[in-house]
Symmetry: C2
Subunit: 206 residues, 2 copies
DNA sequence: ATCTAACTGTACTAATTGGTACAGAACAAG
DNA sequence: CTTGTTCTGTACCAATTAGTACAGTTAGAT
């Protein structure tokens, strides 16, 4: 019996991790299978053993990322409970990009932009993740609205969409400019807007 | 002497147009030179004659797009003078995506996401365009602030960055979901925020 | 008509691509 | 130990890739 806690990363997992990193760094179509094999120290027979083809590997990468993010195992996440969580939600993406010298945008967004119209499976993977993360953000605004902390005119889903768009667009702008200022500014303004929808305590108690 | 007005598109221009469309449709790295040649009805010798290599062609495409957009020759543009212009600014991107069945995001953003870290020329092309378009948006907010139509607390550059991020992120989300709702919602909220910074006429005349 | 430069068609190449064939090794269960 | 399954190493392939070589053609200027 192998001790799972000390077990090395499985071959399959090493390939997925190598693939995710290369996809994130240089895009899906610019990454060859051979590069992934070299980086993960595996061979072509393993690749064919664990994945049907390149698209199958991309799918596995997306499933892996989805599970990691939902499980809260990534530096960025969607467990937003407080106003402070929302503020740091944006900041975590900026910090994440800083850790790679602002040379990359969102790992999932990068893949999403390269998915072609005939790769319906991959598009669905990303779409489902997008819908989940949107609902996580909307839930936060919904709760604040229900508790009376935000105005009754607040539209939780629309605010969630705003945050998602700013995050995706912000990361792309950061990558192109090699500088997070535009993202930072967009996030600042977004937060200012969202906070402006808060109802003052006195008016709530009125 | 050839009549320029009735002259057919030059070989070079046909190649650029074919390339832009294919890049926009399936991404830069998924598009081969042979595909571009087939679509434009040209040969490999022409390609080598007009462009140094693939990167040179991409550069020419970006220059072409830059000139077309600055010249107001595209359905989307940056000549924003009125509040109505700002509203339709977002809408034009949505309409543009609708015209391609929501299967594509921003042509320039798509290229930007695929530019690798060693293609400094291409990154600069996009960066310069980005800075120009940002300044165009900021100018609008600046003027409204100077005229007293927007509050003195208004930050024109930050608002411009917000709009740019929402536009880029919104188009990406639309492409993945094959549906413009998230983009539309984000745009609606952005406009609502920006308009909330307007100063009422009475308070201006006070 | 002639010269020059811009342009184009055909053929080729060396490298890389995604994917397969297949034998053999490791390993768990009986 | 034996058996069946999972896993892996080596070799291979057909197709595609970006890019080149070079002769030939066009068109404008003199």
């Amino acid at each position: 019996m192998v001790n799972l806690y000390y077990m090395e990363q499985s071959t399959r997992e090493r390939m997925i991790n190598a693939a995710i990193d290369l996809f994130h760094q240089q895009g899906v179509n610019a990454t060859s299978i051979d590069q992934i094999l070299a980086k993960s120290g595996t061979g072509k027979s393993q690749f064919s053993h664990y994945f049907k083809n390149k698209e199958g590997l991309i799918h596995s990468c997306l499933v892996y990322l989805d599970e990691a993010i939902r499980g809260g195992l990534t530096p960025t996440g969607y467990d937003i409970r407080t106003w402070k969580d929302l503020e740091s939600w944006f900041q975590k993406y900026i910090d994440f990009q800083k850790s790679v010298q602002f040379e990359r945008s969102c790992p999932i967004g990068t893949i999403g932009n390269e998915v072609s119209s005939d790769q319906e499976l991959l598009r669905q993977d990303i779409k489902l993740f997008l819908e989940w993360s949107r609902s996580q953000m909307a839930r936060f605004f919904s709760e604040k609205k229900a508790s009376g902390e935000m105005s009754a005119a607040t539209r939780p889903e629309e605010l969630a969409d705003l945050c998602m768009a700013v995050m995706q667009g912000g990361m792309l702008l950061t990558k192109i400019k090699r500088n997070p200022d535009m993202f930072q500014n967009a996030a600042t303004q977004t937060l200012q807007y969202v906070k402006s929808l808060r109802v003052s305590k006195t008016s709530r108690e009125r």
